[in-house]
């Protein structure tokens, strides 16, 4: 159940992360320990001194949309939209974009705290929230289009709108597994003939005041979770033409007990784990230590922090880089969320993947 054995080909990829705006080199940088954390800029006022994995200043040349459009975007939506235009460029998919499917793991709302604060300032008097004031003044204090920043499906929609991606689609809320579900559904959309090409990945940010406050309250900060942000996408195709790699396997379940990976452990030479918090990390390490003793292991969260819905997808793209650079032949990417959900994706080389696009 919930397993695809039919291979789906990868035609391109994109990653936006603290590593930068390029997916090539990501896996090697992670392997080499070349990506570190720094004091968060986005949380500097609200939570000073927090270390994070943040995307650097976005160059205008690669940014998504104009200033007006960006005001409608949450941070994950903006990162996601950048990833969409990059993955389309990387896969050279410039035609018939209206037929391309799009399945995306998205997180919670990520609206502007400036807008929220303005709203609250007009609505709170003497530490009492006033509905009357909120209705009469608080609402008027915020940008009329603030609600668009709160809609988490816009993490998918902005990228689709800006780039004309019009095929079958779904946004899945993700605490890890929703992003794997997005990949799973994209693969099925291709296998079922709903589309010949599809994008699959995730975008999210834990470097948001409210999200970080929740992670602190829930104890993840004390456990050492480092907030991260990013977006990553794979361009999937039914065609092996110029394929970079194959998605060989995609499976996920609500619990480790229910997960059956049915893999040839000896064939896996590299594992990337993407845990959300320490309990998840322990679960994944236990799987690796008991089933995959021969493989090299890399914990993506130790370098890129936890970018929530984006992290599993960043893991896939990092694995793709390792495959492309011949540092691995078959990679397993394992993710686990705070809800007990667990997913496994295997990427492997194609016969031609080493021959083109160095």
């Amino acid at each position: 159940m919930n397993r695809i054995h039919r291979p789906t080909f990868i035609s391109g990829a994109a990653a936006v992360s603290a590593f930068g705006f390029e997916w090539r080199g990501l896996g090697r940088a992670l392997k080499g320990g070349h990506i570190g954390f720094s004091s968060s800029m986005q949380l500097a006022d609200s939570h000073p001194g927090i270390f994070a994995s943040e995307v650097s200043t976005i160059p205008g040349s690669i940014d998504a949309g104009g200033v007006k459009t960006q005001k409608l975007m949450s941070r994950p939506a903006r990162l996601g939209a950048i990833a969409v235009q990059q993955v389309l460029a990387d896969s050279l998919w410039n035609e018939r974009r209206e037929e391309i499917g799009f399945y995306f793991g998205v997180g919670a709302s990520g609206g502007s705290m400036v807008e929220l604060t303005e709203m609250l300032r007009a609505s709170i008097v003497d530490r009492q929230f006033s509905l009357a004031r909120f209705g009469s003044a608080g609402l008027a204090a915020c940008n009329p289009l603030f609600a668009f920043q709160l809609m988490n499906n816009f993490t998918l929609c902005h990228g689709a709108i800006l780039n004309g991606v019009g095929g079958p689609n779904s946004a899945f809320y993700s605490r890890g597994n929703g992003t794997v579900a997005a990949l799973f559904e994209a693969m099925h959309a291709i296998a079922d003939g709903d589309c010949e090409r599809a994008l699959a990945g995730g975008a999210d940010s834990a470097v948001h005041e409210v999200t970080w406050a929740e992670l602190e309250r829930e104890g993840y900060a004390k456990q050492g979770l480092i907030p991260g942000e990013g977006a990553a996408l794979l361009a999937l195709s039914s065609s092996d033409n110029k394929a970079l790699a194959i998605v060989e396997h995609c499976v996920f379940q609500n619990s480790i007990e229910a997960l059956s990976m049915d893999l040839d452990a000896a064939s896996i030479d590299f594992i990337i784990i993407a845990p959300w918090g320490q309990p998840a990390r322990r679960v994944l390490r236990r799987i690796v230590e008991t089933k995959f003793t021969r493989a090299a292991v890399l914990d993506i969260s130790e370098s890129l922090g936890d970018a929530l819905a984006a992290t599993p997808a960043l893991g896939w793209v990092a694995a793709l880089d390792l495959l492309q650079s011949k540092e691995a032949k078959r990679c397993l990417i394992l993710n686990a969320g705070i809800d007990g959900g667990i997913g496994a994706v295997v990427l492997g080389q194609t016969p031609t993947s080493l021959e083109h696009r160095a």
Partner: protein, 423 residues
């Protein structure tokens, strides 16, 4: 090919709790839109909604007494601060029981459409000082576990615990298209053999201060605070009205249903989704992407347009949506459009946002259950720009076998799902 069937349904709507209350309300041709009672909206520009007619506290209490016996507290009663959570649980229980689900059905997957987190703005008050949020003070605040905002997947988490579901969970976050997509996804899981049974549907409520306020700032709701605020496809329409509630279904293979002695309510024949890829703030005016979602659904169902006997439209009552949807229907159904009855229930129960596609699929069961096509509350004056066959305020009798439901989301996500009468 494996046929996916609906074997149970549950609804919570402005007409009340339960599928029968929903069908009764639609059958009477009435509207449940009225002044907001769950919070003091008197200072808000928008003060009318399709509100579930029970206060959430008593609903939660009922739920606690009837379903949480033995002092079971793992369901986090304070989670019911988020109104959609209790709606989702109640609708799911009705569907579960209606489909005679038992222990064996706990292998079910869950595919649910859920709206945004509910924000609790009042929770900011104790930590708001000198014009800013003092997050350092947040950890000192005692109180409910669900603070500042609920999490998007909360209802799914609780459903999994309540029904002890063992299958994987999918939370669809595709705005107003999510409900249709979640049910389509369930059928897809059944058809490909990826699940044997799926609990699916949607739950949402934006009848809360930030939900109502945010939508009002966007200019989406009708500016008129009157019971007929939403007038789908009417020449005088001026906006939507926000609703709340849930609709949940049990979907399984026909073979499985019959094996366990359950008579299906309907077949899920086809589905399709597309993206407008047009603008953030408006649907594609020519409706071409929405048309393609319907054509995809027809193609998957291997049906000609003439086979469809009724369309439950997205029909929000906004200027732009209704014209674009009418264009889309004309494009997909051609000459059949003139004889194809179309209605929208949003004038009656409001726009349930993430749950709208699910409750409108429930409305698509009414023709099979009662040989009635729902009317379009408050549709009185035909709009020449909407050249489709809109059913008026009263339902009409009809014996049809195929229904299609459209759901179009903010951001351009489109979903169409086709149901067939079970014979």
């Amino acid at each position: 090919m494996t046929v996916a069937v609906i074997t149970g349904a549950g609804v919570v709507s402005a007409f009340g709790i339960g599928v029968q209350a929903f069908f009764d309300g639609l059958a009477e041709g009435g509207s449940a839109i009225g002044p907001i009672g769950s919070f003091d909206a008197s200072s808000f520009p928008t003060r009318f909604a399709g509100e579930v007619p029970t206060d959430i506290a008593s609903m939660a209490e009922t739920f606690r007494n009837e379903h949480l016996s033995g002092g079971d507290t793992h369901l986090q009663i304070d989670a019911f601060r988020d109104r959609k959570v209790v709606f989702g649980l109640l609708a799911a229980l009705e569907a579960w029981n209606g489909a005679q689900c038992a222990q064996r059905e706990q292998e079910a997957a869950l595919s649910i459409a859920l709206g945004l987190e509910q924000a609790f703005l009042e929770d900011f008050a104790p930590i708001f000082s000198s014009g800013r949020i003092d997050w350092k003070a947040e950890s000192d605040i005692a109180g409910a576990n669900i603070r500042i905002r609920s999490h998007v997947g909360l209802c799914a988490d609780l459903l999994g615990k309540l029904l002890v579901l063992r299958g994987p969970t999918f939370v669809n976050a595709s705005a107003c298209a999510a409900g249709g997509l979640a049910v389509a996804h369930a059928a897809s899981l059944i058809q490909r053999g990826a699940a044997s049974i799926v609990l699916c549907g949607g739950a949402d409520s934006m009848v809360n201060p930030l939900g109502m306020g945010g939508m009002t700032r966007l200019g989406a709701p009708s500016p008129r605070n009157e019971p007929d605020a939403c007038r789908p496809f009417d020449r005088r329409r001026d906006g939507l009205v926000i609703g709340e509630g849930a609709a949940m279904f049990i979907v399984e293979s026909e073979e499985r249903a019959l094996r366990r002695g359950v008579t299906p309510l309907a077949r899920i024949l086809g589905w399709g989704s597309t993206q407008d890829a047009y603008r953030v703030t408006a649907p594609r005016p020519d409706g071409s992407a929405a048309r393609n979602a319907m054509l995809r659904a027809l193609s998957r169902a291997a049906l000609q347009p003439e086979a469809v006997g009724y369309i439950n439209a997205h029909g929000t009552g906004t200027q732009l949506n209704d014209v674009a949807e009418a264009q889309a229907i004309c494009g997909a159904f051609g000459r059949h459009t003139d004889s194809l009855p179309v209605s929208s229930i949003k004038g009656a129960v409001g726009h349930l946002m993430a749950a709208s596609g699910a409750i409108e699929l429930a409305a698509c069961l009414m023709p099979f259950q009662r040989n009635l096509l729902p009317g379009t509350a408050h549709h009185r004056e035909k709009d020449p720009l909407c050249e489709i066959n809109v059913i008026g305020e009263q339902p009409i009798e009809a014996n049809i076998d195929i229904t299609l439901s459209n759901s179009f989301g903010f951001g351009g996500q489109n979903a169409s799902v086709i149901l067939g009468r079970y014979k």
